[in-house]
Subunit: 298 residues, 2 copies
């Protein structure tokens, strides 16, 4: 079997596994299933969960599309490339409770008709209220998975996430980061097969970190003022996704299925003019940690 078919198959299986795990945690809602086709070729399966016990709106999207290389990508690939193939899983989960963090995960594989191919991906956590021990657990588990493949991955990809999941115009990270990587190609120390295994390992880690974080926070009480802060933080999430996110840009520019691309947006979000947090409040603590370069593990 051709390598791209193998990746595609593995990603589809991972999508099913993740949806199953999230449905079990939620205990109420189920993921819808929409299969769709891309104008130029290929398609995907979008799975969305809404109004669950825990998850207000969440999507786990699988796609495998092909088409003409978009102009904005041309500078990054072999000049002879005209066509691309891209497959990936993309997840964003917006819980109802402000005590449960938003999470995002993406793994993807690209190849062009000029022989280029690479992997990319990332996981990042956006707590509405940062809890240091949970941040440490989250980063610790990501490091453990990365270390199994390359000891350089976690420090490198952690910094990459700090730079990537960043609202430049706010001088604020989206959340506590995680890992982000792109244009990762096989070399003497890692094969293409191992890069695929790394992607799949991350989809397992996604479940292994998020499920305990959900369980630990889901029953915490919250007030309307916690909820207000959540809607403001979600507003920042919308800003990041619409202004900077490469996956969203790629989707919009390649005329992808709009409902699948924008499933990453929360059901409700808010923008207040000059919202200020109180000195000494939990909101102020969270804001103080939305910075690049924090070493969560020490």
């Amino acid at each position: 079997m051709d390598f791209k078919e193998k990746v595609k198959g593995a990603f589809q299986i991972a999508q099913q596994k993740i949806c199953k795990a999230l449905e079990e945690v939620d205990g109420k809602s189920h993921f819808s299933v929409e299969e769709w086709s891309h104008i130029e070729g290929g398609g995907g399966i979008t799975r969305v969960i809404q109004r669950g016990n825990v998850f207000e709106k969440g999507g786990v999207n699988f796609s495998a599309v092909e088409g003409k290389m978009p102009g904005f990508m041309k500078s990054q690939v072999n000049a002879d490339a005209n066509l691309f193939f891209a497959t990936g899983i993309s997840i964003v989960i917006h819980p109802e409770s402000p005590m449960v963090p938003i999470i995002h995960m993406n793994v993807r594989y690209f190849q062009t008709d000029a022989g280029d191919s690479w992997f990319g991906g990332g996981i990042d956590l956006t707590p509405i209220y940062i809890v240091d021990e949970q941040a440490q657990f989250f980063h610790g588990e990501l490091k453990r998975t990365c270390d199994q493949f390359d000891i350089e991955y976690y420090p490198r990809f952690k910094n990459w996430a700090d730079d990537y999941f960043f609202n430049e115009h706010r001088n604020e990270t989206r959340g506590i980061g995680g890992i982000f990587y792109d244009y990762i190609k096989p070399n003497e120390s890692i094969s293409q097969e191992q890069l695929l295994q790394f992607s799949i390992a991350l989809t397992d880690t996604f479940v292994d970190v998020y499920v305990p974080i959900v369980q630990e926070n889901r029953n915490k009480p919250f007030t309307p003022s916690h909820k207000e802060w959540q809607l403001i933080r979600r507003g920042r999430y919308v800003e990041f996704n619409l202004v900077y996110d490469r996956g969203t840009k790629f989707g919009l520019e390649t005329k992808g299925r709009i409902e699948s691309i924008l499933m990453s947006l929360p059901e409700f979000a808010s923008w207040k003019y000059q919202h200020l947090v109180e000195v000494g409040s939990d909101e102020e603590y969270t804001l103080s940690k939305l910075k690049k370069g924090i070493d969560w593990l020490n």
Copy 2:
């Protein structure tokens, strides 16, 4: 007095006039006043109204800034230009009632150190529920103002608005359009002074069209389902502003004051996965009119 100082002064006066008119209509809330400075030079006055009788969140921003020409603008100006001066008024008003349309207006003047200078601007209306007679009134008044300056303006700027206020990824106009224009320079038939008068006339027209539209709709009853549709339409407004709006892009790229740039976003917005409107409903009627090329006057 130097021409740019004259424009700046006229825009500041227009800002005051507009805020006064909107406060009178609202009857409860007042505009805050924040004066700010730009890193590279100049500054502005941001005025925001919140939680009024009619206006949930609205901003009337004046700015006059200078700095290094941003890279993305270089292709549009004389190659020798390194510095820009820009002054403008930018308005977005989000009423609380879904029966009262969102409105936007912007007038602006640019000049570069290489001798280029031009005017730009626009007004567009985004009803949550389109009422044909009101759309006709709105476009009719814009045409009347345009016709006083150049008989070609309304048809040309109306089409420009259809193309500009457009969510490409949704294949949907933002609302019923209005007018949009940019890079308008003096020529044999219109002087720089007249172009300034055109900008100021538009700020008058803004008040003259919006006040009666607010009055006509403000007391109409509405249900939670009308409110739900409003939040979804506001989500589309957020998409337009963060993905396409040039003023927002310009503000973000020139490191403008973020609270002033993003005052255009509503207090609350919503995204539902695959929201469908009912056949024969008012929502379906509105959607059917979110198209380019509608002649509202005939």
